[in-house]
Symmetry: C2
DNA sequence: TGAAAGGTTGGTAACGGTAACATCATTTCG
DNA sequence: CGAAATGATGTTACCGTTACCAACCTTTCA
């Protein structure tokens, strides 16, 4: 049973009076800072617990000019990729006293500005945000904040402070190489039409460049709007194959639509990977367990989160050039012919 | 190009000096509060923009005793269900000036305590947290905070202040009713073994009670540890059917493992829904596009988020009895025989 | 024309903590 | 045994903003 509570919120002073020591000493006890005798510590803790006192970080932060928050700004929570990055961040932040605060932009630059402004107004001790492309106002805010700023996911471009991620151009190129090595030649692409998804764009660019070096151009492409789902993958796969029946490979911009395409092809009796190969992107293990494992690229999401968090937390130094490059990993799966 | 910046962070005073008015007036302009002439407003905004001033909510919050944050405490981000709830919350909070701050507990009561304590120390203007079961310290903290506290997802139990959700007992019972009505009799259950997932437990209880009323008991059950995935669904389905080949229905505790089970059964050539029926729970539309649509119950995730947010934001009054009961909706899909 | 009313601006005192330093008691050690 | 080091506690001055009230300047209208 807690004590009855007046309407006035509790402050250090209440704990101080209840335990017969100064507010300063109470503060020291509650933060485990400085020397306090075991006896007073005990008195104070008992009093605090009895009253149900919860420290006020607003006041504390103002006084100390330090806030244990890390702003994390990501485009979306509705596919599996960013929650996994978050998992990495939060795991690595766990023993640092730092706490992530998440803001979602829905891939909108103006929302990114707004979210960033809002987060900075809390004076966090670091910022982690997705991508290298930001509006002018956003860059202006970040250029001189005097905090660690880590841009994640992508390293194809210039970082404001530090970037942690993979090269999506390279991921695209490597997938192209694997596909060509496996002997496929009439290749189609299915992806989302989101001008703000720069990583998908760069992946496709790297993919096409590599094809071009082998004298090959994409035989077909199909774009869609909105979120990715199995259903979307089915529809687009049907459409692209109706239009270009001669295709022997489909490169999807993510695993979810890739899986939809795979299911559709299997139902229609396509010979996979013999006559038709399929590949996605991300390497989400949620989809393990489909009739065949989809060929894909592991985007190193958890690692990206971890490394970014380590840098913000000061567990690991910012590299000289500001770039932490992780390697996208090709996962052969079952939907590409074995070399 | 922004102006060069000294190391000292900007304050209202800087903007005040740059625009030739008092700090108080600058504050009024930036908050759109009180009367300010158009001319000064313009001057101030220009100065603020030029300097790149970002208000300090720490100081502002302390002075005004108001903070535009809503604490949202959920068990997990790694399945689709809580992100969807979050989507509902954030959509409804969008035009209120309130901002959700998310804490994740990983289904651990002690982490819930810690996260709650931490969030309360920021003096948010409301709390939304999953479930009705909380530790004693957590209840003590919440009983007298003097803020709107909304417990979500579940309404089978006592709310601290307000609860918004569905009855999982009812959801389970209704699914049992549908299954029996469709003529299935030898029913197996596959679910996660998480003592802290009270909703899954209540669902199963409601399910079994309803079966019991018809004189039927579960013919088999299979539990697993850890996250849900298609793969897990496959394995457990294989196991339970190996053990009890006579089963004619499988009730899964969520759609993801249900989908895994479905894929496995289809591969093995089971006659679905003729000889074997399957059902999951949640109604995640991510999985639309499987070879058959899994029978399931829509848990009303987005609505729950919206209603909870509306109550916290004061857009909608707290109901007399403190309970906002939404109806779980049966989604027949293709994996149960039509009545 | 002068008082009232309303719009616009500024001064001052909080808000609830913490940093930095001061103070006093106790221990350590040459 | 006295000086210096160390431990334990308190005092004071902020941190950057907003609430509240006072002051001033117009405009309105009897």
């Amino acid at each position: 049973m807690t004590t009855k509570r007046t309407s006035r919120p509790l402050t250090l002073r209440d704990v101080s009076e209840a335990s017969g020591v100064s507010e300063m000493t109470v503060s020291r006890v509650l933060r485990n800072r400085g020397d306090v005798s075991a006896a007073t510590r005990e008195k104070v803790l008992t009093a605090a617990r009895t009253l149900g006192y919860v420290p006020n970080k607003i006041a504390g932060g103002l006084a100390s000019q330090r806030v244990n928050l890390v702003a994390v700004i990501i485009p979306s929570l509705s596919n599996m990729v960013f929650p996994e990055v978050l998992g990495g961040i939060s795991a690595e932040l766990d023993d640092t006293g730092l706490q992530p605060v998440v803001g979602v932009t829905n891939y909108s630059p103006s929302r990114e500005d707004a979210v960033l402004y809002d987060m900075l107004s809390w004076r966090p001790s670091g910022v982690i945000l997705a991508g290298l492309e930001h509006s002018l106002p956003a860059r202006a805010m970040l250029d001189n904040v005097g905090l660690p700023v880590v841009e994640i996911m992508d390293i194809d471009g210039d970082a404001i402070d530090t970037a942690v991620g993979i090269s999506h151009r390279r991921a695209g190129a490597e997938m192209a190489a694997e596909i060509l090595a496996a002997g496929y030649r009439r290749i189609g692409f299915i992806g989302t039409h989101m001008p703000e998804d720069h990583r998908a764009r760069k992946r496709l660019a790297g993919f096409e460049e590599h094809l071009a070096q082998a004298g090959i151009t994409l035989a077909a492409r199909e774009y869609y709007q909105g979120g990715s789902s199995l259903q979307k993958g089915r529809e687009l796969t049907e459409r692209i194959l109706a239009r270009e029946p001669e295709l022997d490979f489909l490169y999807f911009s993510n695993d979810m639509i890739g899986a939809g395409g795979l299911l559709w092809c299997l139902e229609k009796g396509y010979d996979i990977p013999g006559k038709l190969g399929l590949a996605g992107f991300n390497g989400v293990d949620l989809l393990d367990g489909l009739p065949m494992r989809l060929t894909t690229t592991d985007a190193r999401r958890v690692d990206i989160g971890r490394r970014a968090a380590r840098i913000v937390a000061g567990k690991e130094p910012r590299p000289e050039n500001g770039i932490v490059a992780l390697s996208p990993t090709f996962l052969p799966g079952d939907t590409i012919r074995k070399g």
